[in-house]
């Protein structure tokens, strides 16, 4: 065991002179009354005294002197010169809270297998900006794999955080499909509802004066740390009948989905699921009249991703 021997020699060689002798030091008295310094009892006036484990601060009186006015000059300027410090002072402000960033998220990007012709669908959004003010782009659409694009919309929104959980969003929506195309002014709210529901609602006023609305929500139920079940619902409505694009008055569309994803990485999660989509009321009648299905169930497979 040559190694061991060398190690021992090294160890010995590294011991400073006299180190092996015991030295008398204050540390010898390690247990002298310091392990339980909390022998005192809180003042009875404290309503939470019974619960407060901290030793009370005793013997202190605190004055009520006024605070000084915050100075408007900068100490470093006097030493290094204002011009020299100014750029780093600006950077200091920026770098302590001045966030600007972005996120592109496709919650749905999927193939839909169903009776008749299979389809595809996407729903994504991106934000660009800071903590409070953001530019948001949303897009969603769907179609049959062998048919034309059926629905495709793009929204461009200004988004402003109006509280810890909610963003107010306003802007424009443009529907590329169905034909004829339409433009809408949009006002909506989006955020995190109690119980961790992601929720969004928006009103759309078209250039032709038609008012439509949409609410949607989903919930991420963690089954394990990476296996997540996402129930999702979306309801659309219209204030008037718009036969040229097959939209009836009242509730128009209802969608219920259940998607199970596996987060290989937080940013990349393949999923499978099932979705039921149905047209209701006058909208369903329009569809029947055009020879289209009014409702159906799809088995879906896709990838949720963001960056």
């Amino acid at each position: 065991m040559i190694r061991t021997t060398i190690g021992a020699i090294v160890s010995l060689a590294l011991v400073p002179g006299g180190a092996l002798a015991q030295t008398a030091a204050p540390t010898a008295d390690l247990h002298a009354g310091h392990t339980m310094p909390m022998a005192t009892v809180p003042a009875a006036a404290d309503p939470h005294a019974g619960h407060n484990m901290a030793p009370p601060a005793t013997g202190d009186t605190i004055g009520n002197a006024p605070a000084p006015a915050p100075p408007t000059d900068h100490a470093a300027d006097a030493v290094w010169g204002a011009a020299a410090v100014a750029p780093s002072r600006a950077a200091l402000r920026r770098e302590h809270g001045g966030f600007t960033g972005s996120m592109i998220l496709f919650n749905l990007a999927e193939y839909q297998a169903r009776a008749g012709t299979d389809g595809y669908r996407w729903e994504g959004e991106g934000w660009f900006g800071g903590d409070i003010n953001r530019f948001v782009v949303k897009t969603e659409g769907e179609g049959d794999v062998r048919g034309p694009l059926e629905k495709a919309e793009v929204q461009a929104l200004y988004s402003r955080a109006i509280g810890p959980w909610w963003n107010l969003q306003a802007g424009v929506r443009y529907d590329i499909r169905p034909d004829p195309q339409r433009a809408y002014a949009t006002l909506g709210i989006e955020g995190l509802a109690p119980y961790w529901f992601k929720a969004a609602g928006a009103l759309f006023l078209s250039t032709k004066g038609e008012l439509r609305g949409r609410i949607e929500g989903f919930y991420d139920q963690r089954i394990t740390q990476r296996l997540i079940l996402q129930p999702r619902a979306e309801i659309e409505a219209s204030a008037q009948s718009i036969p040229e694009i097959g939209v009836g008055v009242g509730l128009t569309d209802i969608e219920l989905g259940l998607r199970l994803r596996y987060e290989i990485a937080r940013e990349f999660a393949p999923y499978i699921g099932v979705e039921w989509a149905g047209k209701v009321g006058e909208t369903a009648r329009f569809a029947r009249d055009a020879g289209d299905r009014t409702s159906g169930t799809s088995f879906v497979a896709g990838i949720r991703f963001w960056f």
Binding site: P16, A54, I62, P68, A76, P164, L192
Partner: protein
């Protein structure tokens, strides 16, 4: 060839040999002799890793007393530059000082003067802040407050007298460089006799290392607040009877609060290091059985509060944040980011001890070894169960206690108490005001404030987050008493409240609901005025709050010997008061030392001026 270069070359060879020896000396671990090409490459990178740490931090060091590679004297030269640092066989980009992570140990003596020349070889500005040192503000090293910063290619000379002794550290205050390895340790010997006697010393610099760039970590958290938490509660857990009951989960979900939100940047992206060594590299400090060994422990992490223990060894805490405390023996302590603790251990047996620093969310740990000789590996205990936050961490008082508790009671002696569960908790939502502005009128409400502690408690006498039910002794702040009497015996002439505020979902962090970038006013102090500062934590995470250029006394127990600190960890939903004598003229930084919380806006300028100087 100059003598220094020759020595350097010789040293490199010696280190390589030692690293190879380490490598060959680990039976029973995955560090076997390389037989494959891949194994060889891994061995090679381990050698590289060993070369990227300075001599005092090198594994197998005999301690500071054998001290090579320690910078001392009145003229010290440091160079900031890019380097590769290898951990666990994987190399990553580091910003290093004199080429190493951590940077060199600077060993000074109280009463001396020091000139520290810092050369910036980066393509961006840099800086060095001397954490915990009392010095003229213009040498404190915060660009934009103390000085303009150090431009690429420039050398800046810090020049100041050393007025104190103890264990400190230094780090960049530019961008997020600190999170990439830009830190090192400082040991200052007292002018007189050291009241702490020891036979041997080791410096242990704790850090969190990630190959993910800190800016990307930050962006990910802004995009997805819980991105790195892989210990959330799950349906599988509920069905297995783990964690909260269904009712409690509903209650927390109703408030949009996550009881597993203990750390935001976690072991999912970090490898925790001791002196630049991960668990694989197994930093080893030597001792001779029977010796009193002083461990100077510095938490230089960007984002990680650690629980520290050495199974089998009692630890006697003798100093906190560089200041001596009356010795107190314990088995485990929590060290907030930027805090330092000096402890004495006296291993009697001829065996290896594991030095364990475990992230407080239990998402990872690093094991270093204290051993009588090289080639030994301290035991690695399994990661303990991830703790769950309680209503108390939400600042709603002690709702999980059914009464009968008395002050000074030791949690560990309360049979059957489970702080993770909340027995008897009523689920009456109406009585829980988690965002009532009337409890904190000074806080600017808005998207960045998701919670206000309605009943913040002084938790300095409590065990820190997650250590409530450990069967062994755990250090509380209130056990710390200064060895020397506090110098300023005056009562505070006024007090101020500072709220630590956040919205975890948006990853926004601030003081009083205002990010520094939003044009926050400085916190103004008169020169030599004595002020009580109350820190109120309106978040569910502990925040290590650091004031530059000053020490303060944490208000606990009778005055006279309160512990003197530069950084204080405020427990979730808790409050901590400190008394400050504003004796250092100038402008100073004041911030949460969780680097990304600071970067997000939990930052202020503190001004100390003569009354007549206020413009």
């Amino acid at each position: 060839m100059p003598q220094a270069a020759l020595e350097g070359r010789f040293k490199t060879v010696r280190i390589s040999m030692r690293a190879l020896l380490c490598f060959a000396e680990f039976p029973g671990t995955d560090m076997i002799l390389p037989t494959s090409r891949r194994g060889f490459l891994r061995a090679a990178s381990l050698v590289t890793g060993a070369m990227a740490v300075p001599g005092w931090a090198r594994s197998g060091t005999g301690g500071l007393a054998s001290g090579s590679d320690v910078l001392s004297g009145e003229d010290i030269k440091l160079s900031v530059g890019h380097a590769m640092h290898s951990v666990g066989g994987r190399a990553g980009h580091a910003i290093a000082i004199n080429g190493t992570v951590p940077g060199p140990l600077i060993r000074l003596k109280e009463g001396q003067n020091v000139r520290l020349s810092v050369t910036n070889t980066l393509a961006e500005d840099t800086s060095i802040h001397w954490h915990g040192l009392l010095l003229p503000f213009q040498y404190d090293g915060v660009p934009g407050i103390s000085f303009p910063g150090i431009k690429p290619g420039e050398t800046f000379v810090y020049d100041f007298p050393i007025r104190q002794s103890g264990t400190y550290w230094y780090h960049s205050h530019s961008g997020l460089q600190e999170a990439m390895g830009h830190f090192g340790s400082i040991v200052i010997d007292p002018a007189g006799a050291d009241p702490v006697a020891s036979d041997r010393e080791h410096v242990l610099v704790l850090s969190d290392w990630s190959v993910m760039h800190p800016h990307k970590i930050y962006t990910r958290l802004k995009q997805n607040g819980g991105n790195f938490n892989f210990q959330k509660q799950t349906l599988a857990g509920l069905l297995a009877g783990k964690g909260q009951s269904a009712a409690d989960r509903r209650m927390w979900a109703a408030m949009r609060m996550d009881p597993t939100d203990i750390s935001d940047a976690t072991g999912a992206i970090y490898t925790y290091l001791v002196n630049g060594h991960g668990p694989v590299e197994n930093w080893t400090g030597l001792f001779v059985p029977g010796e009193k060994v002083r461990l100077r422990i510095i938490n230089a992490s960007a984002m990680t509060n650690f629980n520290v223990r050495i199974p089998g060894l009692a630890m006697t805490v003798v100093a906190a944040d560089g200041n001596n405390v009356q010795p107190v023996e314990t088995d485990e302590f929590q060290i907030g980011v930027a805090e330092t603790y000096d402890i004495i251990v006296q291993p009697q047996d001829d065996r290896a001890y594991g030095f364990i620093a475990e992230g407080i969310d239990r998402s990872g740990l690093v094991r270093a070894t204290l051993a009588p000789r090289m080639g030994m590996v301290g035991e690695t205990p399994p990661l303990r169960k991830r703790p769950l936050l309680t209503m108390k961490d939400m600042g709603m008082g002690d709702m999980d206690m059914s009464g009968g508790a008395i002050a000074g009671m030791d949690h560990s002696k309360m049979p059957g108490m489970d702080h993770g569960a909340m027995p008897g908790m009523s689920h009456d939502m109406g009585s829980m005001k988690m965002l009532d502005p009337s409890v904190a009128p000074q806080v600017k409400m808005g998207p960045g404030v998701a919670m206000l502690s309605s009943m913040p408690m002084d938790r300095t006498g409590e065990r820190p987050t997650g250590l409530e039910n450990e069967p062994h002794r755990v250090l509380t702040y209130s056990q710390l008493r200064s060895l020397e009497p506090n110098p300023d015996k005056r009562d505070p002439s006024r007090e101020i409240d500072i709220h630590l505020t956040a919205n975890m979902e948006r990853y926004m962090w601030s003081f009083d609901g205002v990010k520094f970038s939003e044009g926050a006013e400085p916190l103004a102090f008169r020169h030599n005025e004595r002020v009580r500062v109350n820190l109120i934590n309106d978040t569910m995470m502990p925040h290590p709050i650091h004031l530059h250029g000053h020490f303060f006394e944490v208000v606990m127990g009778e005055k006279g010997n309160r512990p003197v600190k530069h950084t204080v960890n405020v427990l979730p939903g808790g409050k901590v008061s400190f008394d400050l004598t504003a004796d250092a003229l100038g402008d100073w930084a004041f911030h949460c030392h969780m680097m990304l919380h600071m970067h997000a806006g939990m930052f202020r300028v503190v001004t100390v001026r003569h009354d007549e100087d206020v413009a």
